[in-house]
């Protein structure tokens, strides 16, 4: 039974939250430039890792805000909690992950 540190309300029991899947899935800028297979990659494919997972949680019975959690899907340890618009915490990233994070970040900044 998790205890999650909501970025605003602080430590609260898991029963106040709801997990809504993987985080950092960026909606393609122009969906119509993608073929159906690429669109399916965005719509349905998930990393579903056995280990560190960046996921979205909502404090549904509290402040009702979404935020991101970095959690180990085997030991269930929560490594970090951070806001939706913040990048993946650097200390959790391996070198190559942080490399492609930098490129992703640049594309994420909208006009």
């Amino acid at each position: 039974m998790y205890e999650i540190d909501c970025p605003w309300c602080g430590l609260r029991d898991e029963s106040e939250f709801h997990c809504t899947g993987e985080a950092h899935i960026i909606r393609p800028e122009d969906p119509y430039a993608l073929d159906d297979a690429q669109w399916t990659d965005y719509l349905h494919h998930r990393s579903n890792p056995k280990g560190l997972h960046f996921e979205q949680w909502q404090h549904s019975s509290g402040c009702r805000k979404w935020f991101n959690v970095a959690r180990d899907t085997v030991t269930y340890e929560i490594k970090a909690v951070y806001k939706v618009d913040e990048p993946k915490p650097a200390f959790l990233l391996t070198d190559d992950q942080s490399a492609n994070q930098a490129t992703v970040e640049s594309s994420e900044v909208k006009a």
């Binding site: 039974m1 998790y2 898991e14 029963s15 709801h18 997990c19 809504t20 899947g21 993987e22 159906d36 297979a37 669109w39 399916t40 990659d41 719509l43 349905h44 494919h45 998930r46 990393s47 579903n48 890792p49 056995k50 997972h53 996921e55 959690r71 899907t73 085997v74 030991t75 269930y76």
Partner: protein, 415 residues
């Protein structure tokens, strides 16, 4: 393979059971096989069995990172039924049910398949509409299904609280040929039958990577060295995402904890399987006398084979509300499996972007009941390189075309 019967039991009791041989060897893996199956759970072993029995392909290795039957096969609530809504699912699960009916004789191993009927309760008008639609579709798909009135339910389960409860029971779908089976016996029975055909079951051997020649799979890298094969089938349930990533493609799958719990052994009282989707709890009583109770999945991705207490709490509320006489009965043990769920709650039995590499996953909470049929169609897919009619609809690219088979859509709450 020594034959199992009352006579072999009698004969061996003379020599204090010292002469029973092992049900399966633990061979050193050969360098080359025709087919490698990754995962020695119920589905993986069934696939190997039907490859040998139906297609005569026995130069097969089933590679398991732990002990055979140690994944979801060994930790589910053992329910077997085929009363699914959509035609494609109904046909596949009915194929499984027909194979279940002959399994004990086929593999000369008592899997204790007990056809005591499976009941799905309806607690609202919306539920009743779903039941009427599903039962009609079942009958037309050759699946035995009837609708029970509250009175008929009471006759079969007199201790169920039907009325003056928050969500009264308004009826139920009932499949007489559904029931339960002894889950471990299924894995062990198939393993023994595979071994007898010369199929190698290699336990404690983890697949670390897939070997490829261009975009064609040629074998696997394991903790016991390289093993080559012309065709490879992935049947690793909760670990399907992990395997797909190693093979270089992605899946529309997330692995969730699915919890279950069991009571102390009690004198027999529950003679049928009772499921209630609305209040998220289902129950049957094992032949040892334990009440076996299943819950819903936890909402987060989890490989820890355990879930959160709030799910158990809600399931216990539902059971105590439906069966007030159970409240003093004591629960003994709770555990969890890792169920790989697809967006439309249907399996994926399909080719993959890598040539000669096939995958059988996505069974979510409904894998055990499909063990036989899943093995049968996946054996056909591996043997011929093309899916059988029964699993053609369950392809990976259905998510690209949008031809989903949505098994949990039908119960949307109306108006």
């Amino acid at each position: 393979m020594q034959n199992f019967s009352i006579f072999s039991l009698l004969r061996n009791s003379m020599t204090y059971h010292e002469n029973w041989q092992q049900h399966w060897r633990s061979p050193v893996p050969k360098k080359q096989y025709d087919v490698i199956i990754v995962g020695a759970g119920g589905h993986g072993l069934a696939t190997a069995y039907y490859l040998g029995k139906v297609h005569g392909i026995t130069n097969v290795a089933v590679i398991e990172k732990g002990w055979l039957g140690g994944g979801n096969t060994g930790r589910n609530t053992t329910i077997v039924r085929s009363n699914y809504l959509w035609d494609e699912s109904a046909h596949l699960y009915e194929k499984s049910l027909k194979l279940w009916e002959g399994l004990t004789k086929d593999i000369n191993y008592n899997v204790m398949f007990s056809q005591r009927g499976v009941m799905n309760l309806a607690h609202s008008l919306g539920d009743m509409r779903e039941v009427q639609r599903r039962v009609t579709a079942n009958n037309l798909n050759g699946v035995d299904a009837v609708i029970l009135t509250p009175e008929e339910i009471s006759q079969r389960v007199p201790f169920m609280k039907i009325n003056n409860t928050r969500y009264p029971v308004m009826g139920a779908s009932f499949q007489p040929r559904g029931g339960v089976a002894r889950h471990d016996a299924v894995a062990w029975g198939y393993a023994r039958a595979c071994d007898a055909m010369g199929i190698d079951i290699i336990q404690n051997c983890e697949v670390l990577n897939f070997l490829k020649d261009g975009d064609t799979v040629t074998g696997v890298e394991t903790t016991k060295g390289q093993i080559m094969a012309s065709k490879v089938g992935i049947v690793t349930a909760g670990h399907s995402g992990v395997m797909a990533e190693k093979a270089g493609f992605r899946l529309p799958i997330e692995s969730h904890p699915l919890q279950a719990l069991v009571s102390e052994p009690l004198k027999p009282l529950v003679d049928t399987v009772i499921m209630s989707n609305a209040v998220h709890a289902y129950v049957s009583q094992s032949d040892k006398g334990e009440l076996v109770i299943g819950a819903g999945i936890d909402s987060y991705v989890g490989y820890g084979q355990r879930g959160s207490f709030q799910v158990i709490e809600h399931t216990m509320e539902a059971i105590c509300e439906l069966y007030p006489i159970f409240r003093r009965v004591r629960m003994m043990r709770q555990w969890g499996g890792i169920v790989d769920t697809a967006p439309d709650a249907c399996p994926i039995i399909s080719k993959t972007p890598v040539r000669n590499l096939f995958i059988n996953c996505g069974w979510g909470t409904g894998g055990f009941k499909a063990t036989t049929g899943s093995g049968w169609v996946f054996a056909h897919t591996l043997a011929t390189g093309e899916p059988h009619d029964l699993n053609a609809a369950f392809s990976l690219d259905r998510f690209v075309t949008g031809k989903l088979i949505d098994e949990h859509g039908a119960a949307g709450v109306a108006h």
